[in-house]
């Protein structure tokens, strides 16, 4: 857009076109769309209002474009679904017709109206009218804006060196990008390196993984940082500044992995790689195929841990003089454009279920311990032996869903891999010791993937007995260490009491215990199960909500090797798209300073989570670094002098929305502020799930709850609103690092003011709701119904008086 055009649209009287979408019967089923359109036509500046079946269809979009040209529309309002779904679509429609995309506004009358008021057409229609009125009020004040372009560094950080991280790193490195692969453990390989065989093809796991691991070690574009952890991430999409803590290995790259040092090391401990079933020395390599093959010294156990060389046996044994006790941890800094999170999952610890006796009975083991036992390179050389007497068991029982699909253990989700893993394990036992009797106790067998059903059938044919119903209890014969499984066969409705020489608990996967650290470092969100939350479950399954960050493997949800690899390649492709383009545009929602009003107090700079503001004290001027700005608007909400506002979410626009809500029947309504990423998305989710709640709330969308300034809350009350709801992401989950701390502070301050003036502070509610917590949002609105119903006219009058100052300047 040229400067002339910009000037022109600024000066022009707004000419708004309103399009009310039926969305088939999705909206029209519970909202009278024709009436809403008729109402819209009566609003100021609206020159055209119509209802149509599918506004997002090509036909619908063409209609809008035609009207922009023919009717000279300079603002467009579409009342349909959530802007989180179709705002980009309609923005493009407007742009293609020559209208700046920031002159488009959306009213969400589907997720926030028709779907949540399915059985109250009258209330639904009234609410839809209000929502359209709010959108029109905001649209009148919209200004065209230009987006700035940010260059993208063509380097990528992959966090986690399991199979997903390896695949993503290889794909990106092969494309030609520089890859930093950071792994916490001394070797890459992750969980796949510990598994014996893979299902359904029964390939040897490490045999197919080792070549990939070695590729990583030799790839010219990959810089492998093992025994390292990401300690700091700053910056934004395309321009992340990362610090990685490289812990000391005490062995240099000169190590040839000859193993002479191991022979003399006096320290012996349990090897974590073998789940403690084998031993290792103080200087060690976790497993034979480790990459890098360089040995490592466990400094927690080494005699030299206090900085004094007490024992120099390994130093003497090393011909290459590769052992250096003076090595120190280092911080390596790097600039990357994109980040792939492939941090994997932990396994469930079954010792929290006392009835199964894991950790108490020696012959109750986990499926991971089984993998190490059956592995030819494992502690028993591939012999499945009972830990109690090292005999090969004759009767083996598998128990499914240990730490999956169970409310009791706090793991209500299915872990995806355990059913097939057990079937594979049972076949492995049958292969080595065909006479073994195998019983699988299950809830449901989920053999959903390619080749899975065949494997399941094969197991049944080989004589593996599947019994539906998990044991309630395992008892041990103290003398023989044999086990008794007691439970109910739910297909036959009879009790069983089966004995077994060995019980294998098929343990589920859970989110990494340190995922909170990654979440904080990268400002990600997690679902209620603790796994990282994708930007959209269907259409953006590998993108994080934070730009430039992608997921691969079990970090996002439990999945098998094939799915992990698939997702890793997808993440690599998504990251590659960004880096191939080499630049990204930043949404024009950055702050606009008004230097003449600025008092140089510096409050805005204090609250900015991105350090995107700088203050020149002498000139009394705040400068915005647009590329660093995340667009939360917290700075604008903090400024008490009106010297800062947020583009596209200006004070005037939000006030216009508040005024539109409270124009009529304010005493029956709730003014709700929702942040784009969590609570607005949560409200969308309530709609998608058709959770019904009363129609008193009108939602104003801001990018972050931190944008909600105290004066907005006060204005809503001053205009006679019955209640105000401020909602955002959970503390710690804020999409803008920590901007919602400001929300809390501001709401608390308003509560205090209300209390001091003898007002019922219940009328101002604060809700933290994630994108997955639709029910929580719906429940809150239901709860607030009684607040809205019970507020007395005198009380509203009193509130209006207390906050009447907020009406100034309108």
């Amino acid at each position: 857009m040229t400067e002339d055009q910009k000037q022109q649209s600024k000066q022009d009287e707004p000419r708004i076109g309103v399009y009310v979408c039926h969305c088939g019967l999705n909206i029209a089923g519970s909202v009278d769309c024709a009436e809403v359109a008729k109402f819209a036509a009566t609003l100021p500046h609206v020159v055209l209002a119509q209802d149509n079946r599918y506004t997002c269809s090509d036909q619908g979009q063409a209609g809008i474009q035609k009207d922009i040209k023919e009717k000279k529309l300079n603002r467009v309002v579409v009342a349909s679904c959530s802007p989180r779904l179709h705002e980009p679509t309609f923005r493009k429609t407007c742009e293609d017709a020559g209208l700046n995309k920031y002159l488009f506004e959306m009213a969400n009358i589907r997720e926030h109206c028709s779907w949540v008021h399915l059985y109250d057409r009258k209330a639904g229609t009234e609410k839809a009218k209000d929502l359209v009125k709010m959108a029109v009020a905001k649209a009148t004040l919209l200004q065209p804006a230009e987006e700035i372009e940010v260059p993208i560094t063509r380097k990528v950080l992959v966090i986690g060196g399991g199979v997903a991280g390896i695949q993503a790193a290889l794909d990106l490195a092969d494309t030609g990008y520089k890859v930093y692969l950071v792994e916490k453990e001394p070797s890459i390989g992750g969980m796949m390196a510990r598994i014996d065989k893979t299902f359904p093809t029964m390939d040897c796991s490490i045999c197919i993984l080792a070549p990939k691991m070695s590729d990583i070690g030799h790839h010219p574009n990959v810089e492998l940082l093992t025994n390292s952890e990401v300690s700091e991430v700053k910056g934004y999409i395309g321009n992340f500044h990362v610090k990685v803590l490289k812990k000391a290995r005490y062995v240099t790259k000169d190590c040839t992995a000859c193993g002479e040092c191991v022979k003399v090391c006096p320290i012996v401990t349990a090897n974590e790689f073998d789940v403690g079933l084998a031993t290792r020395h103080g200087i060690y390599t976790p497993f034979a195929q480790a990459v890098p093959s360089t040995y490592i010294i466990d400094m927690n156990l080494c005699l030299n841990k206090d900085g004094v060389i007490v024992c120099d046996k390994c130093i003497k044994a090393c011909e290459r003089q590769a052992i250096k006790f003076e090595m120190k941890p280092e911080i390596q800094e790097m600039e990357v454009g994109t980040i792939v999170v492939a941090t994997g999952a932990d396994v469930f610890d079954p010792s929290v279920i006392p009835d199964y006796g894991y950790g108490k009975f020696p012959n109750v083991i986990t499926s991971l311990e089984f993998e190490r036992l059956i592995n030819a390179g494992g502690p028993s050389g591939g012999h499945l032996i009972r830990p109690s007497d090292k005999q090969i068991p004759k009767r083996v029982a598998f128990i499914q869903c240990v730490g999956s699909r169970s409310e009791k253990t706090g793991k209500p989700y299915c872990s995806n891999v355990c059913c097939m893993n057990t079937i594979k394990d049972s076949l492995l036992i049958k292969e080595h010791w065909p006479d073994t009797e195998i019983y699988v106790f299950y809830v449901d067998i989920r053999a959903y993937g390619k080749g899975f059903e065949d494997l399941y059938k094969r197991a049944r044919k080989e004589g593996v007995v599947f019994i539906r119903g998990l044991p309630a209890e395992i008892r041990e014969d103290k003398r023989t260490h044999n086990l008794w499984l007691i439970g109910e066969n739910t297909l036959k409705s009879e009790l069983y009491r089966t004995n077994a020489d060995m019980v294998i608990l098929s343990i589920g996967l859970e989110a990494r215990k340190d995922s909170e650290t990654i979440q904080r470092l990268l400002t990600l969100s997690r679902n209620q199960d603790g796994f990282f939350l994708e930007a959209h479950p269907k259409l953006r399954p590998v993108d994080a909500a934070t730009g430039g960050i992608f997921f691969a493997g079990c970090a996002e949800s439990p999945k098998d090797i094939k799915d992990s690899v698939t997702q890793a390649s997808a993440a690599a492709a998504r990251a590659g798209i960004l880096m191939a383009k080499g630049k990204v545009t930043v949404e024009a929602i950055t702050p606009i300073p008004f230097p003449e009003k600025c008092k140089a107090c510096g409050l805005c700079i204090k609250v900015c989570p991105y350090n995107a503001l700088t203050l020149d004290k002498e000139k009394k001027r705040v400068t915005v670094i647009e590329a660093a700005c995340g667009g939360c608007g917290t700075c604008a909400a903090e400024c008490t002098f009106g010297a800062l506002t947020q583009s596209h979410f200006t004070d005037e626009q939000i006030i216009a929305q508040i005024d539109a809500i409270t124009e009529y029947d304010a005493n029956k309504k709730t003014v709700a502020f929702c942040c784009n990423w969590c609570s607005y998305a949560g409200a969308d989710f309530a709609g998608v799930s058709r959770m019904q709640y009363p129609a008193h709330a009108r939602i104003i969308r801001t990018m972050c709850s931190g944008r909600v300034s105290i004066k907005f809350i006060e204005r809503a009350f001053a205009r006679g609103a019955a209640a105000v709801l401020v909602s955002g992401c959970h503390i710690g989950d804020c999409h803008y690092i920590n901007a919602n701390y400001q929300t809390q502070k501001r709401v608390e301050r308003t509560w205090k003011k209300m209390e001091q003036n003898g007002l019922n502070k219940e009328r101002l509610q604060l809700l933290w709701a994630s994108a997955a917590e639709g029910e929580k949002f719906a429940t809150k609105i239901r709860e607030m119904q009684s607040i809205v119903e019970n507020v007395k006219p005198e009380e509203i009058e009193k509130t209006q008086k207390v906050f009447e100052k907020a009406l100034e300047g309108s």
Binding site: E185, P266, I267, V268, T269, A270, N271, E272, F273, D274, V275, G276, L277, A278, T279, L303, N304, K305, D306, V308, V310, C311, D346, V347, D349, S351, Y358, G359, P362, I365, L368, E369, P379, S380, I385, P387, K390, R512, K513
Partner: protein, 94 residues
């Protein structure tokens, strides 16, 4: 690896490979405490016993932790402490 280890290693006898005995020439000790301070496995501690020189001598707190690095011998200024390997494992009889 984040899993908690619940089973002892199948080759756990390896973990008890060296059986040692710590000998102290009691009256030679001047109670400086270096052996206690510098033992990397914290095998020694101060005892209540007093020797001819009127100082508290060290005593063994947990011999199973000792892996015969002999650092105590190296740091002892009075050549009062040394470690020997036991010829065979003695079974404790309680």
């Amino acid at each position: 690896m984040p899993e908690r280890i619940r089973h002892p290693p199948l080759d756990k006898e390896k973990m008890e490979q060296v059986q040692t005995e710590i000998h102290l020439i009691e009256d030679q000790c001047k109670g400086c405490g270096y052996c206690i301070e510098y033992c990397p496995r914290k095998v020694l501690e101060e005892s209540n016993e007093i020797n001819a020189r009127g100082v508290h001598i060290p005593k063994v707190s947990d011999i199973s932790k000792c892996i015969m690095c002999s650092f105590c011998t190296a740091v002892c200024p009075d050549f009062a402490i040394f470690v020997e390997e036991k010829p065979a494992r003695k079974v404790k009889e309680d």
